[in-house]
């Protein structure tokens, strides 16, 4: 998405400025909902595991989209300039895309790692609706595999979560690959940051520098919002 479009978004979804292109206040960039949503979307897209659901943010964005849709209807009634209408329409479409894509990426992750999510702390990160979806998903997946594979196997080997009764832990569950590398950027200087447990690898995270690091090692920083994935 072109960076120039950011100011259009701001005015359409946050500001009251009549002319979108005059709103070039860089301070507002970090604080408008659409910027926050973009950030949440990027983080979700780049991270291998599911992140906390931004429920307030999504709700606010959807309310603002509805408002904008109302404004669009008014424009149509008032015969406003076509160019202006299409710019607003573009804004609206892009914002809607962000919301949809954000929710969609999460659903894909739930579909993929359903068994892992339902049996770990990740469960708390889902929204109520996502939990309902996840519950149904795991039921039908379990039923399907039960029907096709597990019921045909000998006693003691029929568990969905374990390889056999002799396994101590659940060892049949696909988990996201947290070792994968991600591109990230920190907003403020984090300072010297330890990448591994032993303290052999320390990196000095400078604000606005781009890093390629293992997701696992910066997981905590992503969750606390100190570092953004790009």
């Amino acid at each position: 998405m072109a960076s120039g479009s950011a100011s259009e978004f701001d005015s359409a979804l946050g500001g009251t400025n009549e002319f979108p292109w005059t709103n070039d206040d860089s301070n507002s960039l970090e604080t408008t909902d659409i910027e926050l949503l973009k950030k949440a979307w990027r983080n979700e897209k780049a991270s291998p595991e599911i992140l906390h659901f931004q429920s307030d943010l999504v709700q606010r964005a959807r309310e603002q989209i509805q408002l904008l849709e109302g404004t669009m209807d008014e424009f149509e009634d008032n015969n406003t300039d076509d160019l202006l209408v299409s710019i607003y329409q573009m804004d609206l479409d892009r914002a809607l895309f962000l919301v949809r894509s954000y929710l969609r990426i999460r659903i894909f992750k739930i579909e993929k790692f359903i068994a892992h999510i339902s049996r770990s702390h990740l469960w708390n990160r889902l929204s109520d609706q996502e939990r309902n979806f996840a519950k149904r998903c795991i039921d039908i997946m379990e039923k399907h595999l039960q029907q096709c594979v597990l019921s045909r196997l000998p006693n003691g080997y029929q568990s969905f979560f374990k390889q056999s009764v002799s396994s101590v832990e659940d060892d049949m569950i696909p988990e996201p690959q947290l070792d994968t590398f991600v591109f990230c950027k920190s907003k403020g200087a984090v300072g010297a940051f330890q990448l591994d447990d032993i303290g052999d690898e320390i990196v000095d995270l400078v604000a606005d520098d781009l890093y390629v690091l293992r997701y696992k090692s910066i997981k905590a920083l992503v969750e606390s919002g100190q570092v953004d994935l790009v």
Partner: protein
């Protein structure tokens, strides 16, 4: 060799283009299931032998013990292969709900087994009820919008349609520039396609 048939199943998945599905290989699948049960029979008889000789199960390390271990591990491997086969297919089936829609074309239907068809239906209903809880259709808008207007080619005669404030005649094979939001519903019904010139 133990486990060879099961690996053949998985090779089918990896040889295939990503996102494409092959016909369910019920023959090999059956054979692997039978192999699992044979392993189990062997395993049980070896354990019985150890018990008959009144040896301690935990500490005995004779040929029966190692034979049993091999059968156990082969069984586990077969199970993992069978599960991976079904699971990977299920993932492809899930993705079809997003790419194709709630109704699958006949040629894909033929490649699924009974349980997979049921799985597709159930999964599809789960997605639909999630979307209705949200009151937002997530299956549209799959790529970021670039322009409020797009070029479309009409695939089937649609007739006169009121778009905005003027009516447009949508004849087969004609090309129009429409508002994306207007065109989307026709595209998802398969009545027109995006025209990339």
């Amino acid at each position: 060799m133990y486990g060879r048939r099961a690996s053949r199943l998985l090779r089918e998945i990896t040889c295939c283009e990503p996102g494409q599905i092959t016909a369910f290989n019920s023959d090999t699948f059956e054979q692997v299931c039978n192999e699992c049960n044979e392993h189990h029979q062997q395993l049980l008889s070896l354990i019985k032998k150890i018990e008959d000789e009144q040896l301690d199960m935990e500490t005995t390390r004779n040929e029966e013990h190692y034979g049993a271990v091999i059968h156990h591990l082969s069984l586990l491997r077969n199970k993992r292969c069978l599960m991976a086969y079904m699971y990977n297919r299920a993932e492809i089936i899930q993705s079809m709900r997003w790419k194709i829609g709630p109704v699958l074309p006949k040629e894909i239907h033929e490649k699924l087994n009974y349980s997979e068809e049921e799985y597709f239906k159930n999964h599809s209903t789960a997605i639909e009820s999630y979307m209705s809880e949200l009151d937002l259709d997530l299956t549209v808008d799959m790529i970021p919008p670039k322009d409020p207007y797009i070029q479309v080619r009409v695939l089937y005669d649609i007739g006169d349609v009121l778009l905005g404030d003027h009516s447009t005649s949508l004849k087969q094979n004609s090309v129009h520039s429409l508002r994306r939001t207007d065109a989307e519903k026709f595209i998802s019904q398969g009545l027109m396609e995006e025209f990339v010139g």
